[in-house]
Symmetry: none
Subunit: 211 residues, 4 copies
């Protein structure tokens, strides 16, 4: 059981989560949080140096929570049947836990996943337009592929489309924004080839009805 101070701090974090989830970092005001928490503004500053540090505490909490949820002793999966089976079980565990991590807490998911978090509603909407355009192109392409028989008509289009969109945007982000890897023009070609391969696999192209 937490003592008074710890309780209040926890309470503030939970209310801050609600506030940031609804309106993002910049559009949320400290007074919103204090109202949600039904405490005085000053009380928040007893526990957090400022608004920024409150937000940071929240994210840091998420990192710990995710690690606790996902982590599992590798040994638990070993020594049980053939290695391929437990490798798949292990992978499944990771994926299931990560998705559950987002599914079980709406506010947390909003904060972590809202890709252009912190923008106000009007802007958020326009930012979505871009993603929707790209998504629409992907979906249309899949449908054409299905008409031509390259892609199984039983494919879950939404699912496949989002995996592809996520992959392309993330790859672009990694190589062109973060630029942790230097790449040259030639790499662009092989990057594209790799991406095409992944997408073909995802779509099971050219192998319709194979399973």
């Amino acid at each position: 059981m937490l003592k008074k101070g710890e309780q209040t701090k926890e309470h503030i974090l939970i209310c801050a989560e609600k506030a940031f989830s609804r309106k993002g970092y910049y559009e949320s005001q400290v007074s919103d949080i204090s109202k949600l928490a039904q405490i005085a503004k000053g009380t928040i500053y007893q526990y957090f140096r400022n608004k920024e540090s409150l937000y940071i505490s929240l994210i840091e909490k998420y990192v710990v929570e995710w690690e606790n949820k996902v982590a599992l002793n590798l040994n638990d999966f070993m020594g049980q049947g053939i290695s391929q089976d437990y490798a798949r079980a292990y992978l499944r565990h990771r994926i299931a836990k990560t998705m559950a991590f987002f599914a079980e807490n709406q506010d947390r998911a909003n904060i972590i996943l809202r890709m252009s978090s912190g923008l106000n509603d009007v802007i958020e909407h326009v930012v979505r337009i871009f993603e929707d355009s790209v998504m629409k192109a992907i979906v249309d392409d899949i449908k054409i592929g299905q008409q031509f028989g390259h892609i199984s008509s039983s494919l879950n289009i939404d699912f496949a489309g989002n995996v592809i969109l996520g992959g392309v945007l993330r790859i672009s982000y990694f190589y062109f924004v973060l630029k942790k890897q230097n790449y040259n023009i030639h790499d662009m070609d092989s990057l594209t080839d790799e991406m095409v391969k992944v997408i073909e696999n995802t779509l099971n192209m050219y192998q319709p009805e194979k399973n």
Copy 2:
């Protein structure tokens, strides 16, 4: 050729792009943009109703630019050899153009892809910690898979890792934040199965050294 007014408006958009790229929407001030553009603050308001509408104009421009870049008449790819070939060529075209779209304009990529756009440096850094944690887990798992021989040792780990991260985050975002699709608990299982399948394909698991 653009007239004076159009020129100034275009100039403002380019400078706004620089500013928003560096500091995101909220941390960029109208005065930053006017300084970059070497014009008076008031002039910006001659062309844009307010800061928000300036940002929106930018994103809307991006949608058009991307569509122009990516769009291509399907006919161009048809009537040339077997349909499988032009389907692949078409997919390749889409991917190549989209990645080039990001690669060729750093500021644009920053604005569209910076997944927690608009947050200040300190916060941005902590948000990255979360993604880095997830990424690290994926990379570690891939390495273990390679040690056990389930995954080809020639796999580009950064590439595969980012595709997977992008896919998982986007799927979570789509189903748990946007929630355009209702899902029930049973769906969570099949969602996970689908995701596992995609990842196995991406990693070419169980078929190491096959190619």
Copy 3:
């Protein structure tokens, strides 16, 4: 003639002088100044980084003003009679100008001379009690000296008392607070001797009715 911007800045400085003069630095609020100046609070921040820098600007202006007032070419006093005469004239000029500097601008004098400037009225009053106690002791001593005939009965008691109080406090401040000079216990004795000598001179003790 000053242009618009310079005029406003000057106007703010003058109003800040009034405000600081009345209530000191801490008790004066930026909104007090803006009200006095009949401008918006924000306007003040167009010209001064913050309240502190506004106060500093004021003091820096005073330094320049005093220097301009007091400074005089030494040559102006030379070549006119014997050197003792122009030395006295020069000294007189310095003193007269410095005192006029304070006498001619009430607010400026308040800000520079209010020895415990910035304290609120209640506290200011108590701080005065200390000075008044010391002053009273000095005045009483002078009166006793007059009764005993050591001190001329025509002495301006207020004047002499304040000179002595100012001297003693300043010497204490210089040696015991600023401590630019190291001193040892022995110095205390000679310091006292020096001080006694100055006071005796000021009081013309032992030489009553001599002039």
Copy 4:
């Protein structure tokens, strides 16, 4: 021996003295004092109505302490030799005790003598610039006087300069800020004359090497 309550009150006063000495009234926070005293903030309010009253108590304590230190029965000095001698001894006693009063307690001296007490470091520094400017002018003048032979070259410049500065500032303060005395323009002249006379005495001008 003090009882518990009295002890605590005394302890708080001593810690408040430290705090106010370091940062002045406004920049010192009640929490600073409670931390120094290693007691809870609330405890301070058991003994003092508020921060202001704590400060006032301190100053009032100083008045008593100074009076105790300086006061001495006039009779002690009488009946012992000629009156001139004990008059001088008496004056010496007053001066010595007052200076010791400041020298023996650094914090007390800081609080009472810091002439612009309560201002923060940055501002304090600029306020010093004014005093330094005036002091520099005085010192320079004294040096010129020494070159011309009006002033003894053995004069302690720092001492004389500070006595003069203290005297001039105090006189200005008394007549132009406190204005307990009305004065008219003609008085300015005689005020100046008096001041010049005092300074000449202090500097022993025109009588170099006379002693």
